[in-house]
Symmetry: D2
Subunit: 338 residues, 4 copies
């Protein structure tokens, strides 16, 4: 049994990791912590966990975390992770970091997250934890930069056809819609029920901090500079991201069937991507509470419309983190997730 | 034109008062303030008001408020109102206070709101602003203690039949369900969308701070001590309170028709209470965005079930406050409200 | 492997049974049917099931169902079940009926469901499938009348203290709040999003068809006639029932701690009931997507307030049905459910 | 007083028209009808209208409607309007048709609405009722084809800059998100709360019936053939449409400020379009229950992102219909709407 821990166990993502790990057959949860007033069983904090996992959620103590675990999940705010990652790596622990701290080059990080990167030593060794693209590197990784929720939904929607060199890479539109838990569990008027319910808004229009992450990975795949137009929207629901991607085709012979074929080939053998048949598109409830990314494609004239759905807390965060752990530890990739 | 102002204009209640006043023909809004970072037009803060009312929302300044207004609405948190009410009264201004500061005897206030009352001088002159019960006193009042949302929905549901001395007053059950804006616009994890949506809870079970207010008014009406059993519940919607009241009948001859008759008589001539015919019950959408309190009644065996609905921001707060202003100023009671 | 089938597999309850059975280790799903236009894989109807269970959902054919299964779940509308139950029993199949057809005496059935009972022969052999009360009878049963969702939440909330003979049984108030899926998947304007969202209503006030079912079981437990006052309310959320029960105490010495003790004793060893400690009450999200019934209790003066929460599709329907199957077949009671 | 009537008064749009007309000072509602079981006061059907308008809602009778009114609103399903419009026009009544029946050329209509057009005589005289574009023609019109909700939000978002000839008109992306009432009040499983809540989907991807309507008007404005890429999405909320439009700029010198200037100029003097200042974008709640269309614009690189918000029942249907009536009848354009 691999001993695992979660730091930041009381956020939406942390809670979800704990829930998955509680049912995982190859690991034992030996440490949980969060910034809390009172140490108490995690199942007192989240009564839904009662009977399933009842260990104490502690106040954060990196040394204790290091001693008690072989692998640690960091479900922490940006800027906090990079303070403690080095300690775990030095102690030869595996780390899966769900913050943005290890996803970007330090120059870009500084621009988008407003702070100097404090762990330039380990930044280059971090592997971007998108298993459908970087499976081999994840296998060998000691530090995973777990992808953001929007990037997961958008990169998976574009990668197969970007690879085909079929599209005009200078004009990629990603219009994303997300449930509210994507913003984390926090006290914020803008996230309060009275503001979000019966309302709909675009926000950070083409200036969301996930944009450089999307650009970086797509550029790496395309082997040329990609700059997507990316508008996120906040939807009055808890969970789910649906991204509608508009791609201008270069290859005008490609029809819907060809495109679907390309997607199926690209994701052949990937257990968590499901490509829909012609004429069908996923809805977020098709993936709710699962680690799947479901994708539908339609070619119309010179445009391909791609719709991808994920559960932002699962494939968009906690589920993908466990998928990465499974690969790193040599477990079945789907263990605990299906 | 009466000059009116709102202190606390950016909360849900304050915003609603501003919206109503903007369309009110007998008053002119001459002052708005709130605890804000930057003074700007209220219509920049709430774009929906654009073109309808565009005056600047200032940082709070009691002296300016006093100079510029004849009547002031205080949409402030508890404990804050009582600090500034004396200044307005001294200057001969009319005050409608939407906090709980002037609703209870100071001993009871201390128990439920955890602070000494700081304005015992004016506390006795405050009139409880429930126009269906205290119309005459409101007419003469200089200081209104505007009722809480739950008390409004519960007192109006019970008063007609309490008056009839028809029920066992020792066992009154009020099971209330409220939308989220009743808790105010504030940063609070418990009010965030992710916690409230797809969830339902009872809270402060029989220990909500509105309980002594309900007891006080019902006791005054019944001329004996009343102690209701009161459980509020938080419902995933923005607006609306539905209270389901269970009353044990003493008068076993009373049937549904008799009860409805009693309610209709009690509220005859009251423009904002609508009694439903036999077999029909109100829903919160019947009163959404209105100042109505709709009531349905059913007698079954020895029990009367009364369902009352209000919009918590209207009849439960801002609408009732304007109704009180109309009565105090000699305007038509419905001006600006229908 | 026990061969099981589901008739009515495309309703909310049927879908949920299929989902649970797909992950159940002791059974094999060998038959699914529903009134559908086109026979296709259940995972085409519900894409979320893709990869988990892909067998064809057929148009209904009782003979085929009988041949292919050892045990059948009937997730059918009232009045339909009683037409086909006899055929399965005659063929020595086990039946778990989720409709109301076998829950009431035929006289009472006729009054509340508006039809003569057509299977009086088997009606008396049906066992009411509430395992926390009737575990032994369920073990021997061939036909289960799976309880209604409201009755499950209310009976479990009252039984422990009804047993203690501690309360005035003539005045029991059950105020229930339910998510919308409790009404089934159907085309009905009253259930449409535009009518339900941002709205709240009481309905069938003290005349809901679950009332005789609640009365029947509570009367059996108390060994005297019980007539609850029961008001259901429709809440704008998908899943969850919260029942707030008000009981008048006879035993005035009982305090909250005593009451909680009584509940804990009553449900000792029952895997799906969790009693909350003093001062805590369950919320529906604590039981969402689980088979738990969570209960909180408070004694205040001469009244006990009991709050119970279930997921209406799980403990209120599909989960409880599988729990019954587990008991009937000698499996672990929690198999497939935790 | 102009005598007005509404046929189809019980749908979402019809109800909204009635609500607006009830407060309109220049007209008198003299006729309401709908396909209903029982003729009763409209305020019994919609209790929220009680006291505001209480006339009987009749079963449909074209002759009675003709006799009693000077101007009629048809809030009917497609294909029904064209059966009765000729009768009203023949009797010299003014007609505002909210269906799609008079919005398209008959050839196009047949393709998208699956039926031959039955009133080719009047089809050419219908005026497309988008006052910000066709004010003068509306003034003289006897028959208004009231625009669809999506087209209103999209055309208003594009027209100012299409006019400037600033964009690549061959690649216009309109990604729209709509609340559920846009689909009308009807019994349909796909619109039921359980299907829509906590879910998000694209639907009719680039094949929604509003696409030819958008294309027709944009083509007329641009004086060249326009074919937008249009994907509508269903959002779990009652009211509101937000359209995010992506335009590829030809004029690379235009920055955000220039674009906003162009929008402000285009809509100068139009009372119901509000252009947001640089850096701000509208949310649907900014226009909820109003007839406004709020628009925000951002230029980034060679792309303009335009976000427009309307209330689908107001500016997207009933409000715009009344705005058209105001113009046709020579009333103040905003009468009853502000």
């Amino acid at each position: 049994m691999v001993k695992v821990g979660v730091i930041g166990a009381t956020g939406y993502t942390g809670e979800e990791i704990v829930r998955i790990l509680a049912g995982h057959k190859k690991v034992k949860v030996t440490y949980l912590s969060a910034v809390i007033d009172k140490e108490e069983p995690i199942s007192d904090i989240f009564p839904s966990l009662k009977g399933s996992i009842d260990i104490i959620c502690k106040k954060p103590n990196t040394d204790e975390a290091k001693e008690k675990t072989d692998l640690i999940f960091l479900a922490l705010p940006h800027r906090v992770s990079m303070e403690i990652v080095p300690k775990f790596l030095k102690a030869n622990k595996k780390v899966i970091d769900l913050s943005a701290d290890y996803r970007l080059h330090h120059d870009v990080y500084k621009i988008w997250y407003g702070a100097e990167h404090k762990d330039r030593e380990n930044l280059p060794v971090a592997v971007y934890g998108l298993p459908e693209i970087y499976h081999n590197a994840i296998k060998e990784a000691r530090l995973i930069a777990n992808p953001g929720c929007y990037p997961t939904s958008i990169i998976l929607a574009i990668a197969p056809i970007l690879n085909e060199d079929a599209i005009d890479t200078s004009f990629i539109i990603a219009d994303s819609k997300s449930g509210v838990t994507g913003a984390g569990r926090k006290a914020d008027i803008a996230l309060s029920f009275g503001e979000v319910n019966e309302n709909l808004k675009a926000y950070k229009t083409n200036e969301h901090q996930h944009k450089p992450e999307i650009n970086k990975i797509l550029s790496a795949i395309a082997e040329k500079d990609i700059d997507v137009i990316f508008t996120p929207h906040l939807i009055p629901m808890n969970r789910g991201i649906l991204s509608t991607v508009y791609l201008k085709l270069k290859n005008l012979k490609m029809n819907t069937r060809d495109a679907i074929e390309a997607y199926k080939n690209f994701y052949a053998g990937k257990p968590f991507v499901r490509i829909y048949q012609e004429g069908k598109f996923p809805q977020t409830r098709d993936v709710a509470n699962t680690n799947f990314c479901d994708i539908g494609v339609k070619v119309t004239g010179s445009v391909a419309i791609v719709v991808s759905c994920i559960d932002n807390l699962m494939k968009g965060a906690a589920g993908q983190a466990v998928q990465n752990m499974n690969i790193m530890c040599g477990f079945d990739e789907t263990e605990g997730l299906i």
